[in-house]
Symmetry: C2
DNA sequence: ATATAAAATTAGATCGGTCTAATTTATTAT
DNA sequence: ATAATAAATTAGACCGATCTAATTTTATAT
């Protein structure tokens, strides 16, 4: 007997679905057992088991020893969870005053709360935000996720500038680093120089003295060229 | 491998602890297996199993075939969950605009979100409320739950009046009934007459015409005599 | 005090989600 | 094409939370 008669998708399944969705987005259509095991922090046989259960529920399509991918139904659930996750993150930052590096783990739980009216009202309460505190786009109530036009700062030539719109590295340490450097979403970042020797970037930020950052940093910042 | 390394108390244990706490509050010190099974909506052997697990964690003290009761540790967890539940209910009503009859089931899930900073910030954001939307007192951050001075309206003599401070029946149907009758928390309710024959109450509410309600209703309203 | 009824526990099973060890299947290199 | 390596699956187990059926313990009634 379950208190939250979730019935449909379990907590765990939702986390798998989200992970598969993100892997499909970045690493192409089909996903490998070992890859998923790694990002889920479980061992391969656990994934195989879970795949069978989820295939039974028509959340993924799965051919033994070939890869697997989300069905339309699975994709819908995944996007819905992502929507919830990002809305809660906005709530935590905008309303409760958390820092952007603190909200991910809390949202990782909140995203599973079972109630559509809750999500809708939260969305309205937050003013229908388009992006979460890390710049990631928030799918709308119909599951439509606006395609981002952002590119990595590292893809821009020296001399070009871009508006900082998001991060591709969501780690606490990177977010803290950006805070320390005074680099915030919305800032305009100009590439003054790219050092040929070690690929360090010299960046110019409005009203600040130039900053030298590693290639890794330039490769973790999403911008819209301007 | 668990994503929310809850470790300490599981979702399910927390629901059991809360139920035991409430049973101890109303039905005296020790609780019976069958009673708990009934309120948890499970069968008796499930309770026996759970009791063993919880006794192992020192959340309850348990003597086989005698009753059981919460330890100090168990009581602390229970009160903390109650605090979270009631704070979330305030959030849902005050901030998101839910009705008081809609929030219980959602809070039943939200109460388990693992994060003390979250609860503290929520508390602050809500302005440190003293009671939830049903008039139930909210334990403070130290787990201190103010003792209520409310009594059942049915305990008052005809002619007396009281301020409506809470309900002892939390069912959706009763809450809807009160809405329909225009009876809201904070209202002053005067007992005009108690019919000897069938114990119906004639109530006077400020600015409204007298209402006749059953004994069951008078027995579900908490008031502070005035 | 003994029989009967009620409450609680034990025994044995299932299910979701995980593990390790063993095996099978697919990929890669020579 | 065959052998070696890597990836995936199967087999068998565990844990938490539940169930039903059988048994034991406690309470109640005569
Ligand atoms: Mn999650
Ligand atoms: Mn985010
Ligand atoms: Mn609950
Ligand atoms: Mn309440």
């Amino acid at each position: 007997m379950y208190y939250l008669s979730r019935m449909s998708t379990s907590y765990t399944e939702e986390n798998y679905l989200k992970a598969i969705y993100k892997l499909q987005e970045s690493n192409g259509e089909t996903v490998a057992t070992s890859t998923l095991a790694q990002v889920m922090g479980v061992h391969a046989p656990s994934v195989t088991d879970m795949l069978k259960r989820m295939a039974g529920k028509k959340l993924i399509s799965y051919q033994k020893s070939k890869g697997f991918k989300l069905t339309e139904k699975g994709k819908q659930v995944a996007v819905d969870i992502i929507r919830r996750h990002r809305l809660w993150e906005v709530f935590l930052v905008d309303k409760l005053g958390f820092r952007w590096d603190e909200v991910h783990t809390i949202a990782e739980e909140l995203e599973h709360i079972q109630s559509s009216p809750l999500v809708d009202k939260l969305d309205a309460y937050l003013g229908y935000p388009k992006a979460d505190p890390h710049g990631d786009p928030i799918p709308d109530a119909n599951g439509v996720l606006p395609k981002s036009r952002s590119v990595l700062l590292s893809s821009l030539k020296a001399g070009k500038a871009g508006k900082f719109t998001g991060v591709s590295d969501h780690s606490v340490s990177f977010l803290n680093y950006l805070d320390k450097m005074g680099i915030s979403l919305g800032d305009t970042i100009k590439i003054k120089h790219v050092e040929d020797f070690d690929k360090t970037y010299t960046l110019e930020l409005k009203g600040k003295k130039p900053a030298v950052v590693s290639h890794k940093v330039a490769n973790s910042l999403l911008v819209i060229e301007q």
